[in-house]
């Protein structure tokens, strides 16, 4: 595509570019710059802050109290990401290998929940997880079926069904995060499998590798860029999803997002909250850089080792 130098039509260039530039400058860069300064400020009085270039707000994040919270938060986000990957990988594989005719409807069905409000999808899970919820009803049905089966063959019963106390626990938060972010995991996985040449699988199987070996030595390494993308796209937002912990979690279910939210809307320690949100942002940038690196490496490997004859 031919582009023209900006000097060739300065009026059009300015008319097209200035509005967006000004908008981002005033309503994006300025607010972010402001809380960047805030993150190096000291609290003074109830609502005041002085820019003292202190590093204390960042250091405070590494105090044992907060390290404990962050550790748990990372664990919940990791568990959710792992669950997403375990469910998402086979789903993406099934869609990528589905007949072309039903591929688009399947993809549409996977992306559609993404458009439904994230808060509403979280709320929908309350009815699933609670003591008298659908998950427990289903388990109870299987339990009773097993119970009567065992009685019938004279092995005694399983006893009474004890419902799982799932809602308001960290497990509920992790499952909730996994449920809500699942489409984010499946789409990049699917994209990497779409590009994957199926003849490699046939070659591997023909040459005597078993199914497991083919999976771990051929399919997984070649779809790694998709796995990395999916993991990053789920993991970082999961850390910030404070409303999921609020709705499904208990008193000790806190994600980093909950701590940030509390600094701004409850505890009123803006400098500390600003430092935490910048830490989360740095994590995001690190994830982006990491993804780029992996993508570049995969491309090199693709061009070198598997060049088509």
């Amino acid at each position: 595509m031919q582009t023209e130098p900006w000097q060739s039509n300065k009026v059009v260039f300015a008319a097209l570019g200035l509005p967006a530039l000004l908008w981002l400058g005033v309503f994006f860069v300025l607010p972010l710059g402001f809380i960047f300064g805030l993150s190096f400020s000291d609290k003074s009085g109830i609502i005041g802050h002085d820019l003292t270039w202190t590093g204390g707000n960042y250091l405070r994040a590494f105090e044992p109290l907060y390290l404990g919270i962050f550790g748990k938060s990372l664990l919940v986000a990791l568990a959710a990401t792992a669950a997403c990957l375990l469910v998402g990988y086979p789903v993406a594989l099934a869609v990528a290998f589905a007949p072309p005719k039903i591929k688009m409807p399947l993809l549409l069905a996977i992306t559609l929940p993404f458009w439904i409000n994230i808060l509403i999808r979280t709320y929908a899970l309350i009815a699933v997880f609670r003591t008298r919820g659908f998950l427990n009803f289903t388990l109870e049905w299987f339990w009773n079926a097993g119970d009567s089966l065992l009685r019938a063959v004279g092995l005694g019963g399983l006893g009474d069904f004890a419902p799982l106390e799932l809602l308001y626990t960290n497990t509920a938060v992790a499952l909730g995060v996994a449920y809500v972010f699942l489409p984010f995991m499946i789409l990049p996985l699917y994209a990497s499998m779409e590009r994957f040449d199926r003849s490699y699988l046939e070659a591997s199987l023909d040459l005597g590798a078993g199914h497991w070996r083919t999976f771990f030595k051929v399919l997984l390494p070649l779809t790694m860029p998709g796995v990395i993308s999916g993991v990053m796209i789920v993991f970082v937002p999961a850390l910030g999803a404070f409303f999921i912990a609020d709705m499904l979690g208990g008193a000790d279910s806190q994600l980093i997002g909950n701590v940030i939210e509390r600094q701004f809307l409850g505890a009123n320690n803006w400098p500390f909250g600003a430092a935490l949100s910048f830490l989360l942002m740095y994590l995001t940038f690190a994830a982006i850089v990491l993804r780029r690196l992996f993508a570049a490496r995969a491309e090199r490997a693709d061009g070198g080792g598997y060049a088509p004859a």
Partner: protein
């Protein structure tokens, strides 16, 4: 493989389908089915603060849609047509509002508006800060979608129109815009949906007198879980799903 996919879709949709179903359930507690009723929709419609939140949401989404399309299309055409210093930096900065965690943008705008935004404005203006916040993160989406379409547009057509006497503005309006119209409509619908759907950024920028439907639903859930919440949620689901499906239609529309 087929039964695995079926199980997956059941898992994915069952919570949403039951949420919608139980908005029609004639029982205060969402546990057992007690017969069909629409009384919770009537109750939701009679809930003044809920209707106010809904009206706020639609107003914000509509204004956001117009502004996001204007900014997004202009930015997309700029990056497609010109080369200029720091082009890559400008391109990268445009995608930042999409990339950074929502909560970070939310708290930054909270602090910003707290400092510089007047309080106690009259109604449509009181939504101004939420609208500004929404435009900031939706117009880059519009730009991305429009650029996808621009990639296959031939710049020579515009030049030909101008050689034949069209002004810069006429060439843009009569030659360029018709070619990218489906992507503009798709971008507009997506801007509308993202705004209507947004919870996190709105949560931080909304004042006590300017709440939106998702924020209202959040506080209703805190208070108690009732079929009325399901009814309000169902209305939001229906609107956003229709807008999103239409958007995908337009985005993948073949060139006429």
């Amino acid at each position: 493989m087929r039964s695995f996919l079926a199980a997956f879709f059941v898992m994915l949709y069952a919570p949403i389908v039951t949420l919608v179903a139980f908005s029609f359930n004639d029982s205060k507690r969402n546990i057992v089915w007690r017969g069909f009723t629409t009384k919770y929709y009537a109750k939701a419609a009679a809930n003044e603060s809920l209707i106010e939140a809904f009206a706020n949401s639609l107003t914000i989404a509509a204004v956001n849609m117009v502004a996001s399309v204007a900014l997004g299309v202009a930015a997309a055409v700029l990056l497609w047509r010109f080369r200029f210093p720091f082009r890559h930096a400008a391109d990268g900065m445009m995608s930042l509002p999409i990339v950074i965690p929502e909560i970070c943008l939310g708290v930054a705008l909270l602090v910003f508006f707290n400092q510089w935004w007047p309080r106690d404005l009259a109604w449509p203006l009181s939504l101004g800060n939420i609208i500004i916040a929404h435009i900031t993160f939706t117009f880059p989406f519009v730009a991305v979608i429009v650029r996808g379409r621009l990639a296959s547009v031939n710049r020579e057509l515009e030049k030909a129109a101008m050689d034949l006497g069209a002004s810069e503005w006429q060439a843009m309006r009569d030659v360029l815009l018709p070619q990218i119209r489906p992507s503009i409509i798709a971008g507009a619908l997506i801007a509308f949906t993202l705004s209507l759907d947004d919870f996190v950024i709105t949560y931080f920028t909304a004042g006590p007198n300017s709440i939106t439907l998702p924020v209202k639903i959040n506080s209703m859930v805190r208070f108690s879980v009732t079929p009325e919440v399901n009814a309000a949620s169902t209305v939001l689901i229906v609107i956003t799903v229709i807008a999103a499906v239409l958007a995908m239609r337009f985005q993948t529309a073949r060139r006429a």
